[in-house]
């Protein structure tokens, strides 16, 4: 319970990644790239518009405003434009920088930011929150100096326990050691709670999470999903917080484009037409619920497929192409980004053992490999072109993709099962 004399509203957002590239298969569907082109900045514009419409008092951005340390010029200009608009409406903006846009490495233009923008420096800094000349709170924040911030920055925050004012903290950090994100500025929930702030405006984790209701410790998630990873899927937006006699908060979906994965179980599906119909239905249902301007979907096929279906999805690109066209026909706002499959054939290698005495050995071999990662670690891709392309690919950001893992082993098992099943039919 916070007893303050002034009612106010603010928006908490983070991880705008304004100049972020979207990691999608644009080569598969050129429209996807077109839609995503402006999605991040458009989402931010939507946020500002919403803030003006809602008469919020301020906006706090908890880091990763930009995606890269070079800070795209366009993003900066767009930010300047939007903050100028907010300035006209008298909305202050409190901004911290995170691991993606650390202050010491930033290529930010020293432009004349409007006076309503307040940037947290690399040491904890507190700005007073005032309304009509009356101080009602403080906001303390810190920006990253460098990308790899390993200090527990939360500990640097001043202890405000006992303050009569509304105390807010803005921090870009991995609280609780989320393994899906880099462990920058690692902190624990206790670290935060112990400091006595009323609201911890966190950033860094892209999936929205309310870590604590009292005090409020919130990750609003990123404003706009960036790709198809689970943390990027689903509605994205910001947190609207209203402070009066009570503090209330709610999630506001603002992303212009929503990434979703549709999982389609092929067990019992008897034809490709039915498969496509199933995909279409699921996509339509998602569109109805998302509320986003556009929906970029990936279809992941699961289950156990009969022989015909299994053979058909062997050429997944063709199935995906057909589905993309059908989706476009039904709803131009739904775009198929790609299709993946972990469908298993109706019969396993064990089932096919009668086909050849070698299969028994094969099953044993796969089992042996699955027991030991060291065998997979020793596997190397022979350079097919004999031009050193494989090693070169390792140097352009694909080093991880060159390594063999259990997923590859599973895929190899599927390949072998498919081939033996085909051989049996032939």
């Amino acid at each position: 319970m916070i007893s303050k004399s002034v009612d106010f509203k603010f928006i908490h957002c983070s991880d705008l990644h304004l100049d972020s590239p979207f990691r999608v298969h644009s080569s598969f569907n050129s429209d996807v790239a077109l839609i995503l082109h402006d999605a991040a900045v458009d989402s931010f514009s939507a946020l500002c518009e919403f803030a003006i419409d809602e008469y919020v008092d301020f906006i706090v951005i908890s880091g990763d405003v930009y995606d890269g340390i070079e800070r795209g010029l366009r993003a900066q200009l767009r930010l300047l434009r939007e903050i100028s608009k907010l300035s006209v409406s008298g909305i202050d903006v409190y901004m911290a920088f995170g691991n993606h846009d650390p202050l010491s490495q930033g290529g930010e233009i020293a432009m004349n930011w409007p006076s309503n923008l307040h940037i947290f420096p690399v040491e904890p800094c507190t700005f007073p929150l005032e309304k009509d000349g009356e101080l009602y709170g403080n906001i303390t924040g810190i920006s990253y100096r460098t990308k790899h911030e390993q200090r527990n920055l939360a500990q640097l925050f001043p202890d405000v326990s006992g303050s009569a004012l509304f105390e807010m903290a803005a921090l870009h950090a991995n609280v609780g050691g989320n393994i899906e994100h880099d462990n920058y500025s690692p902190a624990t929930l206790e670290d935060l709670v112990s400091k006595g702030y009323d609201y911890w405006a966190l950033g860094h984790i892209h999936k929205r999470a309310v870590l604590s209701e009292s005090p409020l410790i919130i990750y609003p998630g990123n404003l706009q999903g960036l790709h198809m990873k689970p943390s990027e899927r689903g509605p994205k937006g910001a947190e609207l917080v209203a402070v009066g006699s009570e503090v209330s908060h709610r999630f506001i979906p603002l992303a212009r484009v929503v990434f979703e994965q549709i999982e389609v179980d092929l067990t019992g599906v008897e034809s490709v037409d039915l498969l496509l119909a199933e995909c279409g239905e699921k996509a339509s249902a998602l569109v109805a619920n998302s509320g986003a301007a556009s929906l970029v979907v990936r279809v992941h096929l699961v289950g156990v497929a009969n022989e015909d279906i299994y053979r058909a999805i062997d050429d997944l690109d063709s199935v995906a192409q057909t589905l993309a066209e059908e989706l476009q026909l039904n709803d131009s706002n739904v775009l198929l980004e790609g299709m993946s499959s972990s469908v298993m054939p109706s019969r396993t290698l064990d089932d096919l053992a009668g086909l050849s005495d070698v299969i028994g050995e094969l099953v044993a071999e796969i089992e042996k490999w699955s027991q030991s990662d060291s065998m997979l670690d020793r596997m190397m891709i022979d350079d097919p072109s004999k031009k050193g392309i494989i090693s070169k690919l390792g140097r352009v950001g694909l080093a991880e993709s060159l390594k063999f893992d259990q997923a590859d082993l599973e895929a190899a098992r599927r390949v072998l099962t498919t081939l033996f099943a085909k051989e049996e039919l032939s």
Partner: protein, 953 residues
């Protein structure tokens, strides 16, 4: 089988050799047969092969024969295999120690088929045979090697492997859109370069954006400076542009100072003076011109008066008319004379010969009058004949001889033929008719008679009444027929009526009757037509004769009498006579014309004599007189022109005189006016000229310019007029320098401004562009997309490669476990011989063929052919050793011909030990020639039994 002894009675060059010596036996284990070359080692080996498994050729006696015996032990029993000559062939027998006979086939059923091949390849060999491996088709060995089932049951693993290879090739070959990893990598590199470039661009743009405000301020400052300097420049430029005026202003000011009297001059007066002066000059010039003209007119007048002839124009006209008339008459006379002369010549040439020819022709006619009379008489006869012929034709009903003679003759032949034919028919018909008639009559008589007899008989008793009637009827019928025939009522058949042209012919001739009557009528009509055609042919002949006669007569009359020539000659003569008559008339007309000419000429002479006052010479021809008269006519015409000109000149003179008076008056007036003005300036009218006038004008202009310049300065520079005048006074050079200096400053400022504006524009452009485009994000998105594409491709590649690896490993393991027993034994032996360097001997496919591979310590599988010769020899020795040590193998003695010469000492020892080991169960004969080999066996520490051979004699 363990051979205990050999006796070679005869084989090759060996005769009567027993081995070992009597009383000894070969060892049951390892036997070393040591002997130099040419000691017969190979022959001993060959003897054993041939005696155990005789060659087919050996049985027929065509090659060397193995005569001798082998004693051996098998299954605890002793046997003797003898080979003896029987006649020319060799026979062998196998006897047991108890004297029973048996055969090798019974002892070793497995060798029943191809026993020799198996023995020679698997049990008895030297180095040459050792390498005679499966890969070159040693069937016996091949069967033993690969006969066992390998690979188990089921589908082809190689097919799956091929599928995987295809998939890997496809993955390597690229995505469904044909993009390979290499292409994607190149795109990535390119993309990264573009991103770097874009980053640099944005960094540079960011700098510019930061300096945007500074640039804008700089632009404002520069623009202000530029305006101020341009204004200054403009001021100086205007001053410079008036420097010429200023110089003139100074000159005029000085000029006015020199001519104080002229100050305040009215420009109208100058204009008036100038006008008057010009007018005075013009008027003087006009007067002089008029005077000159008057003088010229006077001179012309006197000249014209002198040139007039004074002839009487009426008389000259009359003379000219007379001359014209006489010239017409003269031309007519001339023409008539020519015609008359021509006619006379023609008449003379034609008249006399024509007369002669007419006479000659007429005389000829007189002489031939008799012939003429005859010809005319003949002509009359011919005409008479023609009339007669016409009458004949008429009588024949022919209007004219329209048929040609040849057609008539053809028709006559045709009618003649028809006539002959129908006559023949007629005659034949008559004859037949006669015969038939006779027969009919006879038949009728017989029937009638029989009828009558019948009737008579029927009248008898007992005859039915029908007989009466029938016989009576027959008799009556026959009688009727007889009567009918006799009265010719019964027609006979006619053959002519069968002809197809008969009907056509009878129609043409109008024959109505039929049968023989018709035939007879046709013969008659044809006969008549033939006679008529004969007559026509006769007439036609006559007609041709008459035509010939008429033609002959016509020709005679013309050629014999010459009527045409006479007619032509007379016609010519008449023409000439008409010409002569016309000439006479022309001669009369010529006389009249000459008379008229003579009288006219006299008149003309009189007239001309009167005109010229007797000065003309009239004895000349009419042509000369005509020319003189023409000249006179011309003179008269000239006189008329002169008179007109004189009159005109008089008028002109009068007018010029008046004008001259007026001009002189104007000159006087002008002089008075000018003198009045110039007097003011102390100038005399006589001295006043254009120079004075120019001076007046300059003075006025100076005055005006001075005022203009002062006003200009005042107006232009107003507050700065003093500065301007000061600048003027400082001089033009200094101003030039100032202008240049200022120009440079302006230019530099402009450049600065232009750069600043350009920079600002660029920044604004990029700023604006960034609002709409985002190349960086596009590039990064492209990069991400490429990475995803490569990841996808790599994932496929990895899964396929892994699948291949797994399958290969499984297959290898399977093959290792399921190798044939022989291979497993071979692996053990070969591994021991090579001291573990090679661990496995495998049967695998090389292409489509079963082949032997060995796996080395590194796990690499090498094809046998990839091994060194020595190692390969050891491999195949191992295979053979394995073969004889199999539990189910036939334990035949093993004959080795120095097969270790290519092995290094270490492997030789290994081999020797292996042989010793195997010889525990299998008898081995090892042939060697070199002491080294012997030494090697000794050094290896193996147990063997040695047999030494001497070189054969």
């Amino acid at each position: 089988m363990k051979i205990t002894s050999l006796f070679i009675q005869e084989y090759g060059s060996i005769q009567n050799r027993r081995m070992p010596d009597s009383g000894y036996e070969f060892g049951h284990h390892l036997n070393l047969i040591f002997g130099p070359n040419e000691a017969g080692k190979s022959q001993i080996k060959g003897f054993v092969e041939d005696i155990l498994f005789p060659k087919p050729s050996s049985r027929s006696g065509s090659t060397s024969k193995a005569i001798g015996e082998i004693a051996f032990e098998e299954g605890g029993a002793n046997f003797l295999l003898e080979s003896r000559m029987k006649g020319k062939s060799v026979s062998s027998r196998l006897v047991t120690s108890s004297g029973d006979q048996t055969t090798l086939d019974e002892l070793f059923p497995a060798l029943k088929k191809e026993g020799r091949e198996i023995f020679a390849n698997l049990y008895s060999f030297g180095l040459d045979q050792l390498l005679y491996s499966t890969t070159v088709g040693n069937r016996a060995l091949s069967e033993h090697l690969f006969g066992a089932v390998v690979g188990g049951k089921g589908i082809s693993i190689s097919s799956i492997q091929n599928h995987l290879d295809d998939r890997i090739r496809k993955a390597v070959g690229g995505t469904a859109r044909g993009r390979t990893l290499e292409v994607i990598y190149n795109d990535l590199v390119q993309c990264k370069k573009e991103i770097d470039r874009q980053i640099q661009l944005e960094l540079s743009l960011a700098d510019k954006l930061r300096s945007k405000k500074v640039t804008s301020e700089l632009i404002d400052r520069l623009e202000q400076q530029l305006r101020s300097r341009k204004e200054q420049f403009h001021f100086l430029e205007m001053i410079q542009s008036r420097f010429d005026h200023y110089h003139r202003y100074v000159e005029y000011r000085e000029f006015l100072n020199d001519h104080p009297k002229l100050v305040g001059l009215n420009p109208d007066i100058i204009n008036e003076l100038e006008t008057d002066l010009i007018q005075l000059k013009t008027t003087r010039s006009n007067a002089a011109s008029i005077e000159r003209e008057m003088r010229e007119s006077e001179a012309t007048k006197s000249k014209l008066a002198g040139e007039m002839s004074g002839l009487d124009p009426i008389k000259v006209e009359a003379a000219r008319a007379e001359v014209d008339d006489l010239q017409g008459v003269s031309e007519k006379i001339s023409k008539l004379s020519q015609d008359i002369e021509s006619a006379s010549e023609t008449i003379g040439n034609v008249l006399d010969p024509s007369r002669g020819r007419v006479f000659e022709l007429v005389s000829g006619i007189d002489q031939d009058s008799f012939i003429l009379d005859n010809e005319l008489a003949r002509l009359s006869d011919v005409r008479s004949d023609i009339r007669s012929l016409e009458q004949k034709l008429s009588s024949l009903g022919v209007e004219a001889l329209d048929l040609r003679k040849d057609q008539l003759e053809a028709r006559a032949v045709e009618v003649g033929k028809s006539l002959e034919l129908y006559k023949t028919y007629l005659s034949t018909a008559a004859q037949s008719s006669k015969q038939e008639s006779r027969l009919l009559v006879a038949l009728a008589l017989v029937v009638c008679f029989l009828g009558a007899v019948g009737f008579i008989l029927s009248l008898g008793r007992g005859q039915p009444v029908e007989y009466k009637y029938i016989s009576l009827s027959v008799a009556i019928l026959a009688a009727g027929l007889l009567v009918g025939r006799l009265s010719k009522r019964v027609p006979l058949r006619d053959e002519s009526q069968d002809r197809p042209d008969f009907k056509e012919e009878s129609n043409r001739l109008g024959v109505q009757a039929s049968g023989s009557a018709g035939l007879a009528e046709m013969v008659t009509k044809l006969d008549r037509e033939q006679s008529r055609i004969s007559q026509l042919i006769g007439l036609s002949n006559e007609w041709e004769q008459l035509k010939s006669k008429l033609k002959s007569l016509d020709s005679n009359l013309d050629t014999e009498c010459g009527f045409s020539a006479i007619k032509d000659a007379v016609s010519n003569l008449a023409g000439v006579l008409r010409l002569a008559k016309d000439r006479d008339q022309q001669i009369a007309q010529l006389g009249q014309l000459q008379n008229r000419f003579n009288s006219g000429f006299e008149e003309l002479c009189t007239l001309l004599s009167d005109i010229s006052g007797g000065q003309l010479d009239l004895t000349c021809s009419l042509a000369i007189i005509s020319a003189s008269v023409s000249e006179l006519v011309n003179k008269v015409e000239s006189d008329k022109v002169y008179q007109n000109q004189l009159a005109s000149l008089d008028g002109d003179l009068s007018r010029l005189n008046t004008k001259l008076g007026l001009a002189r008056q104007d000159v006087d007036d002008l002089r008075v006016r000018i003198s009045k003005i110039v007097h003011k300036f102390d100038w005399s009218i006589d001295d006043f000229d254009t120079g004075h006038l120019k001076l007046l004008r300059e003075c006025f202009e100076a005055h005006r310019q001075k005022e203009t310049f002062e006003n200009d300065i005042e107006e232009l520079f107003r507050a700065r007029a003093d500065t301007a005048m000061s600048l003027f006074s400082r001089g033009e050079l200094e101003l030039d320098n100032s202008l240049k200096e200022l120009d440079e400053i302006i230019s530099a400022t402009e450049n600065q401004l232009s750069d600043a504006r350009k920079s600002l524009l660029e920044v604004e452009y990029h700023e604006k562009r960034l609002q709409n485009e985002n190349p960086m994000i596009d590039l990064q998105a492209r990069k991400e997309s490429l990475l995803l594409e490569a990841e996808g491709l790599l994932a496929t590649l990895k899964s396929d490669l892994l699948a291949k690896e797994l399958l290969n490993a499984a297959n290898r393991r399977f093959e290792e476990v399921h190798q044939p027993e022989l291979m497993q034994l071979t692996s053990l032996i070969f591994s021991r011989i090579t001291n573990g360097r090679y661990q496995l001997v495998l049967k695998k496919k090389f292409g489509d063929k079963d082949s032997i591979y060995v796996r080395n310590q590194r796990g690499e599988d090498l094809l046998d052919l990839q091994l060194s010769r020595g190692t390969r020899e050891q491999l195949y020795l191992s295979i053979r050793l394995a073969l004889i040590t199999r539990p189910d193998s036939i334990h035949l003695p093993f004959f080795l011909d120095d097969v270790m010469v290519n092995a290094d000492p270490e492997r030789s020892y290994g081999l020797a030990r292996e042989l010793e080991y195997i010889s525990r169960d299998n008898q081995i004969f090892y042939f060697c020639a070199r002491p080294d080999s012997l030494k090697m066996f000794e050094e290896a520490g193996v147990v063997f039994q040695l047999y030494q051979l001497e070189r054969l004699p």
